[in-house]
Every structure is written in C-alpha cells, then in structure tokens.
C-alpha cells in the first residue's frame, strides 16, 4: 500500500486571528491565518487544521471568512473544528471550503449529531475530536475518560467505548488529544493512541505532547496512528515540515516527500 502518513499542523484561531502566529517564515501578517495556511501549503504539510477558539457565538462568522479565503488560496485539505454545535454549523463550514469538520463537545452531549452530520456530508467529512485523560490509579489497568472544556470537566465516559460508538454512528476520523500530554512536549500518550487506533476501523490522528521528531515517529510506529498533529514545534520553527517528513521517512514510514 502506498497511502502516506499525514503530518497536520494545527492553528488556533480566535476572532479570525491566529493566537500564536507562526514564525518560521517572514510573513506579511503573522496574525493572519490565511498567510500561515499558505506558508504551510508551500512547506508541504499534508493537511491543515484550524481550531476556532472564538468564545462568543456571535463572532463565529470570522472562521467562515478564514476558511473561505484559505480555500481560495491553498490547494490543500483543511479540517476545521471548535464551536460546532449543530449540523447547520457543519454545513456552513463545508460550504466555505472545509474538507472535514471536527465535532467535540456537541458529540459528547448528544452523539446523534455524528450520525446526522455523516448522513448529510458523508462519513469522510466528519471528524470527532476526543479529549481524553488517564483516570486509572498507578498499578491499575489503563483507563481513559473523555474530558471537556480543555480538560477541566470530567464526563465519566470511557474513551475507548466512546470512540467505538462515534465510529459506529458514522464518524470518518478521530482526532485524539491526550489532555495529560497536551502542551508538555513529552510525547504522545502512546498507550492511549494505540488503544483507540486498535479499537476502531477509521483513521486516528494523534495529538497532544509533541516535542521532538521522534515523538512523531512513535505516534505512528507504536501508537498506530494514521496521522500526526502538532502545533508549537512547527509554529515556532523548531522543526520544519520537510525535516519532520524526512525524519519519519528515514524511520521507514511512508511519507509524501516534496
């Protein structure tokens, strides 16, 4: 098989502006998500992810404008998440030019949104974002639960069971973030990534904790992820997309090299 493993940079967008601008290139406007998208497109990123963290629902229109302008300027696939509550929100993003839309809290509250969205847009367009945290005591069997609100609110829902349930309902991909590792640069939670990847037949994107290029490799070889997502190592220019791809290819992972 020749399907390549994907590297996905993720940009946090608030009120239409990038929260942490990328600084690996001289951009005219580091706060403009479209400028960042163009830079990642040119750098060979396999997909791009926008996470809209706009707090108020009234300003949701700003992300639509970002997606529209990105689609007009970049011939690369884009996933958009954050604040998606209804099937109508999915439709608006798809029409603006998103290829996939990721649903997080709304699916935790009411899983039926996954099936309703997949019926309209096809499973391939619907990503369910899972924020999971380890809840077993040391020495006990591994167990992870779904958390919402940036890892603050426990839901009591088992992460593996939830992943299987949303896959059955029609999700086409799972974006899996370890809330224990997010922002730590300590690497993915590989046990979690592997447990979820092996529990479902849809692709799993590993996220949360990337600090080195070896972490990206491990996410695929040990975590069995289909794609790896990272933010700061790329945004701050610690590593380029090309370096990451070359490193992963050297480790024997099939990559799309420029």
């Amino acid at each position: 098989m020749t399907l390549k493993t994907r590297i996905i940079p993720c940009l946090d967008v608030k009120n239409g502006r990038v929260v942490k601008g990328i600084n690996f290139l001289d951009l005219a406007d580091v706060g403009d998500p479209v400028e960042s998208a163009k830079a990642y497109d040119a750098a060979g990123a396999d997909e791009l992810c926008f996470l809209d963290i706009t707090a108020s629902h009234e300003n949701r229109g700003t992300i639509l404008d970002v997606v529209r302008r990105t689609a007009e300027n970049c011939f690369m696939p884009v996933t958009v998440g954050g604040g998606v509550r209804e099937v109508e929100d999915v439709r608006a993003l798809m029409l603006a030019g998103a290829d996939k839309v990721s649903i997080n809290t709304a699916a935790v509250k009411d899983r039926s949104i996954v099936g309703r969205a997949a019926e309209k847009f096809g499973a391939q367009a619907i990503v369910v974002a899972i924020d999971a945290k380890r809840v077993n005591a040391p020495g006990e069997a591994d167990r992870w639960e779904i958390f919402t609100h940036g890892g603050r609110n426990p839901t009591g829902i088992d992460a593996i069971e939830y992943a299987q349930a949303v896959a059955d309902l029609g999700a086409g991909e799972i974006l899996l973030t370890s809330m224990d590792r997010d922002g730590t640069k300590a690497g993915f939670d590989l046990a979690l990534t592997r447990a979820i990847s092996e529990a479902v037949t849809i692709p799993v994107v590993a996220s949360g904790g990337v600090g080195t290029l070896d972490h990206l490799v491990e996410g695929v070889t040990l975590g069995k992820a289909s794609a790896v997502l990272a933010a700061s190592i790329f945004h701050y220019g610690t590593y380029s997309i090309a370096e990451a791809k070359a490193h992963m290819a050297k480790a024997g992972i099939p990559m799309r090299l420029a």
């Binding site: 098989m1 020749t2 399907l3 390549k4 493993t5 994907r6 396999d46 997909e47 529209r68 689609a71 007009e72 300027n73 970049c74 011939f75 690369m76 696939p77 798809m94 029409l95 603006a96 030019g97 290829d99 996939k100 997949a118 019926e119 309209k120 847009f121 096809g122 499973a123 391939q124 367009a125 086409g172 991909e173 037949t201 849809i202 692709p203 799993v204 289909s226 794609a227 799309r256």
Partner: protein, 216 residues
C-alpha cells in the same frame, strides 16, 4: 471558454473554482468560470464540472431538486458532447447505482456501481484518507504529463466508496489501498476523479489543465 461549475449545495466550490482558474492559466486558455445551477448558464458552457462532497444519496437528491438541471446536463453532455468532469461524489454520480445508505440511481453515464471500499488487509482504515500515488490503467488526454507509480505525484483522497466501472476500458487510473481503488474514470466526453484535484497540488492542477485543453 466558459466553464460551468455546478453549485447544487454539495460544497467545495471555492477551491474547485480557484483551481480551475489556475489550470486555465497553466493551459494558456482564456476563459471564465460560471458558478451556479442556472440551466441557461449551463446551456451556454463549453465545459462542465460537477464537484461533490457528501453522501451519494444526499448529493443525488440535491441534484434532482434543482429545476431543469438534470435536463440541461443531459442535453449538454450526452447530446452535444461537451467535456464533463465529475469530482469525488460528482464522479460517483456518473454510475448506474450507488450503494451508500441504500441503493440510489445515478446518472448512468459511466456504467458501473459505487460500492464500499473493502481493503483486503484488516489493518487498513476506511475512509481511505490522505495522499496516494496512482497507477495508469488506460490512455487518455487528461493523463498527459501525470506521473505514476511509487515515485509519481500524489493525489488527495477522502472517501469510503468508489466507482467500479462495468467496462475495464473506462478505468483510467487506480490507487492501491489493499487492492485497486478507482481513481480516474472516463468514457465518451465524460471523465471523473475520485480524488480531489483541487486539493492535489501539482497533480491536480495538471489534470485540470489537461481537462481544459481536451477536445474530444
């Protein structure tokens, strides 16, 4: 040249339109794109592109809902022989029957069925999602200058179903994903790509430029 890009509420029009504009420049063809589903516009078009993101059944229903759309498409493509490109579900709709969420009748311009992907190896995930290379299966002007095989250019796929043509001659290119996956089909003045040329960078623009230049 006037290219009609059909808007029937099935998404992805912005990038398809921009990619076609870029392709026209590369092909050295002057022209413009008309976006919409107005039968009068489509009747005047030299070329027609049908994108499609979504489920087969839903896209098919949307197509039928636009008054006069199917009639003008049939007239333009089947009677007048205008070049036509279907993308993703827009390609799948060319088939006789789609099996996604129950059987739905397609346009029947490329005989065949749209069936669920069923890769041989159990560890392969469905949807087939990401960048894959192509294998050439036939000769066609839209394939000019594309590169194939392990060292070839990549195309971006995002799908759980694919079109199995009744006639092998209609299959122009495949991707390998636990078995062959239909990537490009063509018959008469109609072609279709399962992958997204508008998301497939160099390969996509090249294919679109070929489509713009193609005179069947």
């Amino acid at each position: 040249m006037k290219i009609a890009l059909i808007d029937y509420g099935a998404g992805n029009l912005h990038s398809a339109g921009k990619a076609l504009e870029r392709a026209m420049i590369e092909a050295g063809v002057s022209g413009h794109i008309v976006l919409g589903a107005n039968p009068d516009d489509i009747a005047e078009a030299d070329r027609i592109v049908l994108p499609g993101d979504g489920a087969y059944r839903d896209c098919r229903e949307n197509l039928s809902l636009v008054d006069g759309l199917e009639e003008v498409l049939t007239e333009q493509v089947r009677v007048k022989g205008r070049p036509f490109l279907g993308i993703c579900v827009g390609m799948q709709l060319l088939s006789d029957i789609g099996e996604e969420r129950g059987e739905t009748q397609g346009l029947g311009w490329i005989p065949g069925r749209v069936v669920a992907l069923d890769p041989k190896a159990r560890y392969l995930k469905v949807p087939h999602m990401g960048w894959n290379t192509l294998e050439r299966r036939g000769e066609h002007p839209v394939l000019d200058g594309l590169t194939f095989g392990e060292g070839g250019l990549h195309a971006y796929f995002l799908h759980s179903y694919h079109l199995l043509p009744t006639y092998a001659a209609d299959l122009l290119a495949t991707a390998d994903y636990g078995g062959p996956v239909s990537a490009i089909v063509g018959r008469d003045t109609v072609i279709g790509t399962q992958f997204h040329p508008e998301k497939s960078q160099a390969l996509g623009i090249k294919l679109l430029a070929n489509f713009v230049k193609w005179s069947p």
